[in-house]
């Protein structure tokens, strides 16, 4: 059962990374315009001719 000594902290760490990742996306406003994000990929005006 000694394996738990590093497995449990690792599991928690992974979870925390996910949590902070989510908090970051929230703070940087990535959920402000979900419909817009979906249609903004359609025009290809960012491609240099």
């Amino acid at each position: 059962m000694n394996v738990l000594i590093y497995l449990v902290p690792m599991a928690l760490l992974l979870g925390l990374i996910g949590l902070f990742g989510f908090m970051w996306t929230l703070r940087s406003g990535q959920y402000d315009d979900l419909d817009g994000a979906a249609v903004r990929i359609l025009p290809d005006d960012d491609i240099e001719e």
Partner: protein, 767 residues
């Protein structure tokens, strides 16, 4: 005089000379619009960034203040084909947005904790049936406590705070049992862990919080969305006023930016934007919308006037006494309050049920604990069962069942340009089986078009220029044709007859046939021929009778067919002549129509329909059909944006399209059936789950999942009101140019709408 538009109240300026404004944009419908707006604006000098939020139909623009101003940006958007209205999101929505973000953060924390605690719990469960040592189990329990306690302290705040607020005023809400349940479950778990017991309930507490937060967030998100559309609508209808700047210059400002003590100019035909006192000028004000008094009241310096009166004759200068009546915030609050909070029958019932139910939850839980103790169960078992009962009986689903649907449905209606004036409009619309239309201004557009095919263009131009000086709707329609948009000097309007002026030294008259000296001919020929109304013009011995025709609303045919497909009876009741009504009825294939009805006859007709047991939806122009609208079971009015505040139909729609009428019926029918489903779901859940919990057959974890599952199910079901069957004619009610013009009116001038002012002052006056 060039108009100066002052938007400084809406512009945020930063230290480095940059400025930012948020605009609510009308007419955004597809991906192409994003590109058109953003690239179109970025071509202007001085624009740093323009970004359209496609979800909210809002546009944020940043620019260098020295190079361009906000009015120019709005102008540019107009030339691109989009109406843009200054919008101050920080006033209206900051709090909402912060709340939603906070809930989302709590949800994230609860989610993280729930997953990790479950990871440990499942290990313990499998360990309990195999070879787990007590030390390992204790370690896992303590680890769970380490995760669950801080997480619950953070993520539980929305519930704890709300429960505390309710308890402080000695009331119970549904957050009280949740709080008690969570605290009991956590406390019991710590005790159990300390005495090395086999079971702990950290997982139940944190799972309950996680699922409840999911439901809360969904609920909050849909409320926020509804609010966004309400505030867009409110800013679309924002009106402008003319304020004197310090140098005596006239500046156009949004009414919401007026402040006490401002001096403003109110010109003839304009609505008085705020309460105040007249400083100079004479005029007559139509106050019928405020006091019901139909005779215009003469006013001069010193008279107190009220917002909403219409200035009929002369320009007056007034000082603003109370601003704030028409502010955007008030308007949004009003729209929302009317649509979602006004209590309909069902909502009231659901409210009462929820209120009576909350104390019942606590009593049931306590009785369960006592009952099990008396039956000889241990204290631990009794508390665990009580906690399960407490959680499972929480009336969240019942409390959410109706309001959730109401919020989503009204959001959808707001989005399609419908404004609900009464809270039970949705329910009443859903029950409708007969639709009664008014013709003029409802099936047809309120503004007419001039049929100029047979008229000397020279004469027409003069007539049109003279029409600029009149307020009558027909004259307003005619005035659009004027190429030179300068009124003749010293034109005099004779109330109820017409307008006259000297042109090239000779008198010209525009108005009724009699007024123009055509009396004999006029008696021979009917005042109107076919479906057109006419206006007469006389100048230097030459006469013209100018026909002004009405156009059907662009999508009237499709909408009427759509309504017929819902198996509703359609009837036209019009005050107009039979020759005018018949072609319209024929084009729309409405078989039942009656013409030349007085307002009283319309009321009688509707009443007799109602007495036959029909539920009647009356769709009519809110301004002159008010009594008939009030008689019908439920009423809907097409309305010029400027009149929104004054109309009293149950629901209003803006724009040239009739489609909102169809949408209103479809969405309401769907909403009604969703409400019914939700109630059945919620009641069935409680009837089923409570006895099982009382019998002690459910662990707190299962209770948490079942209870929050029922709330989420109800909320998700309500969200279906956002999609579902909608008419597919067009998506957003806008003032976009009318498509599919009636072939009969091609080649005629499309006229704009100075109609707003004209209808009032010219009401009931034959020209």
């Amino acid at each position: 005089m060039a108009e100066i538009l002052d938007l400084s109240r809406f512009v945020e300026r930063s230290q480095d000379g940059n400025a930012h404004i948020t605009l609510a944009v009308e007419g955004v419908s597809c991906a192409g619009c994003i590109r058109k707006i953003e690239t179109g604006l970025k071509k202007l000098p001085g624009i740093i960034d323009a970004r359209l939020n496609f979800t909210q139909h809002r546009l944020g623009v940043d620019w260098r203040d020295a190079e361009i101003d906000a009015a120019r940006i709005i102008e540019t958007l107009k030339t691109l084909g989009y109406g843009a209205y200054p919008f101050a999101p920080e006033i209206v929505e900051t709090d909402e947005v912060r709340q939603a973000k906070w809930l989302l953060k709590c949800l994230a924390v609860a989610g993280f904790a729930a997953m990790n605690v479950m990871l440990l719990s499942i290990s313990v469960w499998s360990g309990n049936v195999s070879d787990m040592t007590q030390e390992t189990r204790d370690l896992f329990h303590w680890l769970s406590a380490l995760i669950a306690l801080p997480a619950a302290a953070y993520a539980g705040q929305p519930f704890f705070q709300s429960a505390w607020r309710a308890l402080r005023v000695r009331q119970l809400n549904m957050d009280v049992p949740i709080t008690v349940g969570v605290v009991l479950a956590l406390g019991l778990s710590i005790y159990e862990t300390a005495i090395h017991a086999v079971h702990a309930y950290f997982d139940s507490a944190i799972m309950l919080l996680f699922f409840l937060l999911c439901g809360r967030y969904l609920d909050r998100a849909m409320r926020q969305k509804t609010r966004q559309f309400a505030s867009n609508l409110a800013s679309f209808k924002a009106e402008f006023a003319y304020r004197f700047a310090a140098e005596g210059e006239l500046i156009k400002v949004p009414v919401s930016a007026l402040e006490r003590g401002d001096t403003i100019l109110v010109r003839p035909g304009e609505t008085v934007p705020a309460d105040g006192v007249i400083i100079s000028g004479f005029s007559e004000l139509d106050q019928s919308l405020i006091t019901g008094e139909t005779v215009p009241r003469a006013v001069d310096a010193g008279t107190t006037v009220y917002a909403g009166s219409i200035n009929c004759s002369g320009a007056v200068t007034m000082e603003v006494a109370t601003a704030g009546t028409g502010t955007l915030v008030d308007e949004v609050e009003r729209l929302l309050a009317r649509a979602t909070e006004a209590k309909s029958r069902t909502v009231r019932l659901a409210d009462r049920a929820a209120r009576l139910y909350a104390p019942l939850v606590h009593i049931t839980a306590t009785l369960t604990a006592i009952g099990w103790l008396m039956a000889g169960a241990s204290l631990h078992d009794a508390i665990v069962t009580a906690v399960a009962v407490l959680i499972i009986t929480c009336p969240c689903a019942i409390a959410l069942a109706i309001p959730a649907v109401q919020v989503v449905a009204s959001g959808r209606l707001f989005r399609s340009g419908i404004i609900l004036n009464s809270g039970d409009a949705i329910e009443k619309l859903a029950e409708v089986d007969t639709v009664v239309f008014d013709k003029t201004g409802t099936l047809t557009l309120p503004d007419g078009v001039v049929d100029d095919r047979a008229i000397d263009p020279h004469l027409l131009e003069r007539a049109a220029r003279l029409a600029l000086s009149s307020h009558h709707p027909l004259a307003a329609a005619l005035s659009i044709c004027a190429r030179e948009r300068v009124p003749y000097p010293a034109a005099v309007e004779v109330t109820g007859q017409g307008v006259r002026a000297l042109i090239d030294g000779q008198e010209a008259r525009l108005g009724s046939a009699r007024f123009c000296g055509l009396a004999d001919e006029a008696l021979a020929v009917p005042a109107s021929e076919g479906e057109a109304s006419t206006i007469s013009f006389a100048h230097a011995g030459r006469f013209a009778r100018i026909p002004i025709r009405q156009r059907l609303r662009p999508d009237a045919v499709a909408v009427v067919h759509g309504l017929a497909a819902c198996s509703l009876d359609l009837i036209i009741l019009s005050g107009d002549r039979a020759e005018a009504v018949e072609p319209v009825a024929a084009r729309l294939s409405i078989r039942q129509w009656r013409a030349e009805l007085t307002p009283t006859e319309k009321i009688t007709a509707i009443e007799s329909l109602k007495s036959q047991g029909h539920r009647v939806l009356m769709i009519g122009d809110g301004l002159n059909d008010a009594p008939a609208l009030a008689t019908a079971s439920v009423s809907l009015s097409p309305i010029a944006a400027a009149h929104l505040t004054q109309a009293h139909a149950d629901a209003l729609f803006i724009g040239d399209h009739l489609e909102p009428a169809l949408n209103a019926v479809l969405v309401s029918q769907q909403a009604k059936s969703l409400m019914r489903q939700n109630l059945v779901l919620a009641v069935a859940y409680n009837a089923l789950a409570v006895p099982i919990a009382v019998a002690g057959l459910v662990t707190p974890l299962i209770a948490a999942i079942a209870m929050s599952g029922s709330s989420i199910l109800v909320t998700l079901n309500a969200l279906r009101a956002r999609f579902g069957q909608a008419s597919s004619l067009s998506s957003y009610a806008t003032s976009s140019p009318a498509k599919g013009l009636d072939p009969a009116v091609k080649g005629m001038h499309r006229i704009g709408a100075d109609y707003v002012a004209a209808t009032h002052c010219g009401r009931g006056q034959p020209l």
